[in-house]
């Protein structure tokens, strides 16, 4: 089942008097439970693609479907609800809320929109996520008291808090050293297996790319290569 479908997607940005074509026409299908990397050099359109899948940007041409819902005609409020219910985000700069501690940052998405979990369920689920990302000892620490790797682990737990179908990660390892970066990707892969959550991440680091099951290579706004590897045994 395709959870994400891009059909003839183009994105043009105005830049002063000229326009820049960031995406020149992409067709793409991503299956549920994929662990997929969008790879390519800077300026190849990785972030633009992720933004459109994440419903935080709209294509100039073509359609984007998330869980069989076309985002083109949706209003801001509907897109916000869609993001809340179906998507989780991991940012390159972690983007944690600085005044909230680890627990509160992970809890934050659960306090927005409709309450689908009871208070007990919520507490247990956050505790589980904190255990999974190995931050039990730091649960009451603020982001500025954590290392880069720890912050990104908080961001991963936060992205999974609402049990989304898709987690989008834009260069999640860019601000981390290679060892920590690999650790983060391994953690994402572990959660992908355990939660059956689709992970889509962008990177230009070949070492990170090699961990992905499905790699889409972009260059100058076009898909130049698509690789599918056999998933690890026992994934599904």
């Amino acid at each position: 089942m395709d959870i994400v479908k891009l059909d003839g997607v183009k994105k043009v940005y105005p830049l002063g008097k000229v326009t820049v074509e960031a995406i020149k026409g992409i067709d793409l299908c991503i299956e549920k439970g994929d662990f997929i990397s969008i790879a390519g050099p800077s300026g190849s359109g990785k972030t633009t693609i992720l933004n459109m899948i994440g419903c935080i940007d709209k294509p100039t041409e073509g359609t984007v479907e998330i869980s069989e819902r076309c985002t083109a005609e949706m209003k801001d409020k509907e897109l916000t609800s869609l993001r809340h219910e179906f998507l989780g985000f991991i940012f390159q700069s972690f983007n944690l809320i600085p005044v909230l501690n680890v627990y509160e940052n992970i809890e934050f998405p659960l306090l927005l929109g409709k309450n689908r979990m009871s208070k007990i369920e919520k507490t247990e689920w956050i505790a589980y996520l904190i255990e999974e990302v190995d931050l039990a000892e730091q649960r009451i620490q603020r982001p500025n008291e954590l290392s880069g790797g720890q912050r990104q682990r908080v961001a991963i737990a936060r992205a999974l808090a609402t049990k989304p179908e898709i987690v989008l990660a834009d260069e999640p390892t860019a601000n981390l050293d290679s060892k920590t970066g690999e650790g983060i990707i391994e953690l994402m892969k572990k959660l992908n297996r355990e939660q059956s959550t689709t992970f889509i991440f962008s990177t230009h680091d070949p070492a990170i790319v090699s961990i992905a099951d499905h790699v889409i290579h972009l260059h100058d706004g076009l898909v130049v290569e698509e690789q599918r590897r056999q998933r690890d045994a026992g994934t599904r």
């Binding site: 935080i56 985000f89 700069s93 983007n95 834009d170």
Partner: protein
């Protein structure tokens, strides 16, 4: 949403310097506003109390005029020496006004300006209130204290001089006036100056002395009518006697009066310039003589005190309706009109003060707004992240309004507390009026400011309003932040 309160409060703590800048502006603004309002309101109440109790009563009835008329003369554009018009159909008006159940007491009054003459030494200006002693005293029982002599007796001719006037005269001319002495008073009427010698019956001082009003002196009404030429003939349209029209027609009235031609050429004409006519022009000097000529029903004002202060507006409306129905050219007005510029002074100052507050509020709003916009821009990543995670625009709006309101309310309360403590101290110690202008404003020499609930609520209302208004623009900036900016933010 409790998490928003948490974020708002922690953000305020996190950005202490910004919070303090905004907070201190709000606290100072509120303190100034509360103090100013309290002083103004206490002063206004003091002035009102002082005037109602001592000079004007609650309601003043006067004749209808083009401009407004106060106890101290006509207001507005004047064509020179205009006299205050008399109340038409005085008896009927007085009877109707005093028959109203809301009216407790009534006193009628004639007002004007006079000069106290001291031959070659010069003149002293004075406000003259013509009264019927009994009525007036029952209306304003505690307004004056006698420093010497006694009060006017009913029907008795005489003047009560204010103590400060006596002191002024002594200072300027070295003349010591005492009860029992006589004083020459000139009045200005429709037919020019009239002079009268009045016995000083007493010297008084006002219980609540207001600078400017210490020029008031009380004269028996009949003498004042004579001084102002309020004779029967001048009631309504001015009808001049043939002797008077003769003097208006001649080219040189002095020559006509005193020149030889009048006395020498025509015996009959000489007889026309009788002693009576001369005294009428110069002002009668002997009590009782020619009294028949003075209009005993001529009054400028009827002052009313009511049983209940809340009835002022309805009583004024009722009286004015009755005047309109009966076709009487009279008008009822409140103490502010009666007091002339004095009563509206506090209002004017309050308006100026409110404009000042408005300017302070606008400046405060701009500073707060500016600081908040910077804060929003600094938090672009945070806001974008929240939006990306699924926070609707209303959530972002709530967060910023909560932050602004938290600062406004907390520092507003601090401002209120400082203001209230200061007012409390001033209430105990009293605030002395530094000059006569402030004496008028304070309604006395010392002001004991109080903190009315209305001022407190007003201050709190303004605090919240400043908070909300100041957050409007920053919130709109915050709402324009797109989730994609979270990704771009470093």
């Amino acid at each position: 949403m409790p998490v928003l309160v948490k974020i708002a409060i922690r953000n305020l703590r996190e950005h202490k310097s910004k919070t303090l800048i905004i907070g201190i502006i709000i606290a100072i603004g509120i303190t100034v506003m509360l103090l100013g309002n309290s002083l103004m309101e206490t002063a206004a109440r003091g002035v009102q109390r002082s005037f109602i109790d001592n000079y004007t009563g609650h309601v003043m009835i006067s004749a209808k005029t083009e401009g407004s008329v106060s106890l101290f003369g006509r207001q507005g554009p004047q064509t020179g020496n205009e006299e205050i018009p008399r109340i038409p159909e005085y008896e009927r008006v007085y009877e109707y006004a005093t028959s109203l159940p809301e009216v407790r007491t009534a006193a009628s009054q004639v007002s004007g300006f006079g000069l106290f003459s001291f031959e070659e030494k010069g003149n002293q200006f004075g406000i003259l209130f013509g009264i019927e002693p009994e009525n007036y005293r029952s209306m304003f029982p505690d307004s004056i204290t006698l420093a010497g002599g006694r009060y006017l007796k009913p029907g008795e001719e005489g003047i009560l001089l204010s103590e400060s006037k006596v002191e002024e005269i002594e200072e300027d001319f070295g003349i010591i006036l005492s009860p029992g002495d006589s004083i020459l008073v000139s009045g200005i009427g429709p037919m020019g100056f009239r002079i009268r010698e009045l016995p000083i019956r007493g010297i008084f001082r006002f219980e609540q002395e207001v600078e400017g009003l210490n020029q008031i002196n009380f004269v028996d009404v009949q003498s004042l009518r004579a001084l102002f030429g309020m004779v029967v003939a001048t009631a309504g349209q001015m009808n001049l006697s043939s002797e008077e029209t003769y003097f208006l027609e001649v080219e040189d009235p002095e020559e006509a009066l005193f020149g030889g031609s009048v006395l020498e050429t025509s015996e009959s004409q000489a007889r026309d310039v009788s002693e009576e006519t001369l005294l009428d022009i110069l002002g009668e000097r002997r009590p009782g003589s020619y009294a028949a000529q003075i209009d005993a029903g001529a009054w400028h004002f009827i002052l009313l005190k009511l049983e209940d202060e809340s009835q002022v507006e309805p009583v004024i409306a009722q009286l004015n309706r009755w005047f309109a129905t009966e076709g009487i050219e009279a008008r009822a007005a409140d103490w502010k009109v009666a007091s002339g510029g004095f009563g509206s002074l506090a209002d004017t100052i309050q308006i100026v003060f409110n404009i000042l507050i408005l300017i302070i509020a606008v400046v405060a709003i701009i500073i707060i707004m500016n600081t908040l916009v910077i804060s929003v821009i600094e938090r672009t990543g945070e806001i974008g992240t929240m939006r990306a995670l699924g926070a609707q625009k209303r959530t972002v709006r709530r967060m910023f309004v909560l932050e602004t309101l938290s600062i406004s309310v907390v520092f507003g309360m601090i401002g209120v507390a400082i203001g209230a403590i200061t007012i409390g101290i001033l209430n105990l110690t009293g605030l002395p009026a530094p000059n006569p202008f402030f004496e008028i404003l304070f309604g006395g020499k010392v002001l004991h400011p109080a903190l009315p609930l209305s001022s407190l609520l007003y201050a709190l209302g303004i605090t919240v309003a400043i908070g909300i208004v100041a957050s409007l623009y920053p919130v709109s900036v915050a709402l324009r932040i797109q989730p994609v900016q979270a990704i771009q933010a470093e």
